[in-house]
Symmetry: C2
Subunit: 394 residues, 2 copies
C-alpha cells in the first residue's frame, strides 16, 4: 500500500471537469467553459512570428534559458503594464510563468503554510481555490455586492483574524461574477491592506477586455508599500496554447518566486516566450484586442438581453463591463447542480456556482460564459435555461 | 514584516547558478553547464513542423487543451518507449510535463510529507535534490561504485529505515557521475524494490545518447509491481526550449499527478506538444539522434583521453558510455570549490561536486560536461585543470 502525501487528500477531481467532458457533444450549447473564441486567434500572424524567431535566433529559441524568462519580452510586458494599467515596473521585477495558474501555485507555495488564512472574494476563481488548496490553508470569504468585495467586511475580518498570509482578488470582470470594482473601492482596499500589510495577489487576466465604461487603474498601480503581486497573461488577448503569463512583484517576492521556479520547473518555454515577444514586435496587439473586444462585447450584450427577456423575476444577474462571464443568482431553494442535469438533457450547459465558494454552500448560483457562442445559440440557450428555471420555481 | 512559508527556508540560490553566470564570459571554456550543443538543433525541420501545425490545426494549437496533454504525442511517446526502452505503456498512463524538472516537482509533492525519507544515489542530480527539498524530506544517500548504486547498501537501508516514500535513480549515464548500471544490477534493484514496494522515480533524460556498448532495458520495463515512475524528455534528443517531457506510471499514480497538474498549472503548452508531435511525424528523430551521438561520443572520447594525458595519478574519472558528463574524484584534501576559482582565473570552468550530495560533504569531486565544446577547447581546458590539480597536490 503506497501512501501519498497528506496534501493530496485535498486534491479531488473537479466536478466541473467532469461536466465539461459531457458538454463536448456537438449538439450541446455550452456556456460552461471559459475559453477564448478560437476563430479570433491570429494564427497566421503568430506563424510569421514563430518563423522569424526560428530563422533569426533558432538556436537560442530551442535552448535552455534563464528562470526569469526571455528578457526582451519582460521589457515589452513592463512597457505594456505602464501603458494599460499605470503600473511602473522594472523588467527585473517580472517572472514569466506557464499561465497565470502557475503564478497562483507559486503564490500559495511561497506564502502559505498549512492552516494559514487566505482571504478571497465570495465567490472567487475556482482555479485559485484549487491551487491554494495544495498548501492546505484555511479560506476566509469576504462578502461581495454588485461592485465586488465589500471593504467594511474585509476590514472586520482583518481586525479579528490571525495568520492572514495572503489576499486573492480579481478586481476587473471577475471570474465567476463578471463584476468590477469601482475606483473608490480600489482606493479603500489599498488603504486597508497598506494598514495591515498583507500580500495581495491581483489576478488580471481579463483587464484588456473592457466593453463599456472607463479603464480603471490596477491595484498594483496604487501599491505604495509594494504588497501587490500582479498576475498578467497573454491567454485571453493572444492565445492560451503557448502558456505565457507573468508575475510582477517587489524584488524580495520575485526573488522567492524565482528560487521556487528554479527548483520546480527551471523555466518557461524559451521558444514560446520568444514567439510572443516577436508577435508583439511585428504586429499591433492593441488592434487585435480591439477585434476581440468588439466580438465579446456584442456576445455579452446578446446574452444579457436574452436573460432580461427569458429569465423570470427573482433571478438577478451581472451585466458585465468586460471579461468572459456573467453570473446569475436564483431563488435560494433552486439547486443549480440538479438543474444542470435538466439543462444538459436539453443540450444546454452552464457551471453551477457552488464550486466558486471555497467553503461550499451557495447552491443557487450559476456562471455563464458567452465568448464562444454565436447570437442564435446564445438566445436559444438562455431561453431554454429560462424555461427550466421557471419550471423549478415554487 | 511578511512571513514566507516555512518550506521556503529550504530554498536557497544555487551556487552553481552563480558560477554559471561567471562562465558566460566569451573567453571562458566552460565544462560547467549541461546544455545540449545548439549547433545540432534541427531548427529548420522544427520550423517546418511548427508551420504545418499552425497551417493545419492553428486554432487547436493556440487553444487550451487537456491536462494530460496532446493525445497523438502521448501515443508517439508510448510507441517510442516500447521500441527504445522495452516499456509497454498505454498512452493513458502518460502525462506531459514542462520538462522532467516538473515531473520531479510533481513526484515530490505527491509522495513526500515533511520528514519523509527519499533515497538517492550518492552523488545524484542537483535539480532533483532541489525539487524534492520543496517537500522538506530527509535525504538518505546510497553509496555508489563505477557501476552505480550498490544494491547491498540499498537493501541495508530499506531494512532499517522507516518512512521511505520514494527512491530516485538515474540508471543510464547518470548526472553527475556519467555511470551506468549494468543489467545485473538493474535486476537486483527491481527485486529489492518489489520486495519493499517503494515507488521509484527512474529519470532517463540521456538514455538515447549511448556511444558505446549495448542499450540496456529501463527499470520500468521490468516493473512487475508497477512501482516505477519513468521520466522521459525531448530536451536532450530534440531541444529543451519547448519544455516538453513526460511521466509514465501506473494509473493510480498518473491520476494523482494529473490532479496535481490541474491545480498547479492546468496543462503544458498545446502548441509546444503539437509541434514536437508533428516533428516526430514529419522527420526521422532516430537519424537525428544518431548525429548527436556521433558528435557527443567523439567529444567524450577527446575529454577522457585528455584526462588520461593531463590529470595526475591519484585522480579517478568516469569513461562514460553515453550522456553529457564525466566525473572526477581528486585526493580528498583538495577542495574543488576553492580550485574552481583558480581554474576560472585561467578561464576554465567546471562544477564542484559537493552540490550533488544532498547531505553535503565530498568537496573533492568535480563534474565536467563535454557536449558543448570543440576538440581544441576540450584538450586545452583539461590540460589547464590538470596543471592546477598538480599544483594543489601535497
Amino acid at each position: 500500500m503506497v501512501n501519498f502525501a497528506k496534501m493530496m487528500d485535498n486534491v479531488k477531481a473537479s466536478e466541473i471537469r467532469e461536466l465539461l467532458a459531457l458538454t463536448q457533444r456537438p449538439e450541446v450549447t455550452s456556456f460552461a467553459g471559459g475559453l477564448p473564441a478560437p476563430e479570433l486567434f491570429p494564427v497566421q500572424d503568430f506563424k510569421k512570428a514563430c518563423d522569424a524567431v526560428l530563422d533569426e535566433q533558432g538556436t537560442v529559441a530551442l535552448q535552455y534559458g534563464t528562470t526569469d524568462g526571455w528578457a526582451p519580452l519582460r521589457k515589452q510586458i513592463a512597457e505594456r503594464m505602464l501603458a494599460k494599467n499605470s503600473i511602473h515596473a522594472d523588467p527585473k521585477d517580472i517572472l514569466l510563468t506557464a499561465g497565470s495558474q502557475q503564478g497562483l501555485d507559486y503564490a500559495g507555495r511561497v506564502f502559505l503554510d498549512p492552516g494559514d488564512v487566505v482571504i478571497m472574494e465570495s465567490p472567487s476563481y475556482l482555479g485559485a481555490i484549487n491551487a491554494f488548496k495544495l498548501s492546505q490553508p484555511r479560506f476566509v470569504e469576504i462578502p461581495t455586492d454588485e461592485n465586488g468585495m465589500i471593504m467594511s467586511e474585509l476590514e472586520k475580518v482583518l481586525a479579528t483574524t490571525k495568520n492572514v498570509k495572503l489576499i486573492y482578488v480579481i478586481p476587473d470582470f471577475q471570474n465567476p461574477s463578471g463584476r468590477t470594482w469601482p475606483l473608490e473601492r480600489r482606493k479603500e482596499f489599498m488603504e486597508i491592506i497598506t494598514k495591515y500589510e498583507i500580500p495581495v495577489v491581483e489576478d488580471n487576466p481579463y483587464g484588456d477586455l473592457r466593453y463599456k465604461g472607463e479603464f480603471l487603474p490596477a491595484l498594483k498601480s496604487m501599491d505604495t508599500k509594494n504588497l501587490v503581486i500582479y498576475l498578467g497573461t497573454f491567454s485571453k488577448i493572444l492565445a492560451p496554447g503557448t502558456r505565457i503569463a507573468w508575475m510582477c512583484a517587489n524584488p524580495e517576492y520575485i526573488n522567492k518566486f524565482n528560487l521556487l521556479a528554479q527548483a520546480a520547473v527551471l523555466q518557461t518555454s524559451t521558444f514560446g516566450a520568444m514567439a510572443v515577444s516577436k508577435y508583439l514586435e511585428m504586429f499591433d496587439i492593441d488592434a487585435h484586442v480591439e477585434k476581440i473586444r468588439a466580438v465579446y462585447g456584442h456576445r455579452a450584450g446578446v446574452m444579457v438581453q436574452a436573460m432580461k427577456d427569458y429569465f423570470p423575476e427573482g433571478v438577478t444577474f451581472t451585466d458585465p463591463d468586460g471579461g468572459l462571464f456573467t453570473w446569475a443568482v436564483l431563488p435560494d431553494y433552486i439547486d443549480t447542480k440538479v438543474m444542470a442535469s435538466q439543462c444538459l438533457a436539453k443540450n444546454v450547459a452552464y457551471v453551477p456556482g457552488a464550486g466558486f465558494f471555497p467553503n461550499g454552500g451557495n447552491n443557487h448560483c450559476m456562471r455563464l460564459n458567452y465568448s464562444c457562442a454565436g447570437d442564435e445559440q446564445i438566445v436559444n440557450g438562455i431561453r431554454i435555461i429560462g424555461d427550466i428555471i421557471k419550471a423549478n420555481l415554487k
